[in-house]
Amino acid sequence: MTVNPAEKKTSSSGKRRPVNKELCAKAGYILGLFVEKLGGIGVKSAVIATTDGFDVASVAMSEEEGAKLSALSSSISAIGDMAIKEIGIGVSHQSITIESESGYIFIMDIRHPNCPMVLSIAASKDAVLGKLIYYARQVVAKMIEA
């Protein structure tokens, strides 16, 4: 599987995004380890994106797919937080799992002090969800300190 740190990409307005290269490289490395730990089983794609939907790093997908999953994940995460607040069961979500007949999308927020991000993993039903969540939590913990 290929890891794509996103430091070379630009925003739609043509200028560089402010996510620094170092953070992109670390995110790429950490995502790579994550896929390795799962033995690649079931993981279709994984991204780390800013909360406003730019990809910081992605794994095993094209650039376009990475950009799409990034934007989708930031919207879903924001809607999750909105629902939690409106219903009065907290201030933010800890994770969101979307299940389909053939797979999952699993989302966790990365509350990085300077650059809030979202981790999003798309997996097939072959994935062992418990294991995936266990390692996803490790990704989040490492990224908060990155």
């Binding site: 925003s11 402010p18 909360t51 406003d52 730019f54 919207s75 924001a78 909105m82 409106e86």
Partner: protein, 175 residues
Amino acid sequence: MIEHKILFTGSVGAGKTTAIQAVSEIPVICTDVLNSDLTLGKEATTVALDYGEVSLGKTERLRLYGTPGQERFSFMWDVLAQGALGLVILVDHTQTNPLQDLSIYLNHFKDTIRKTACVVVLSKMDASRPPALEAFTEMMQENHMVYPVVEADVRDRAQVLWILDLLLVQMEARL
């Protein structure tokens, strides 16, 4: 109580969230997050949707939805356009090419526009700077879309209510 769904869309920073906040009678539900695109020059940006409500008299209530402006969130545009009876397209007049900005939304929402009421609002407009309001009207006509194009300060409740009025007049004419 008759309820109508109105959708606010348009360019980033044009004031979609601000417009809904200006008139909503309930605390506006926002999905604002830290903006990391420094070219936009703003702190927060909407990534999913805004929601507010305003009642008109005792019989009608408008449910106001706002979209994100960036094209990477266009999947939200389609979700939110479902069931909308009126569309407000806001264009930030201070941007490099506001006419091109408008064309993005006219094009993406053309099916919705054909079925619903629509108003184009130029925000942050300095009349001494081109393009003039007529240029936007001409562009609409070229696309065979005959809808009002107005200039407004969307921070002002009265002006946003006037925009909603322009929509309602069209909606009533269709009934």
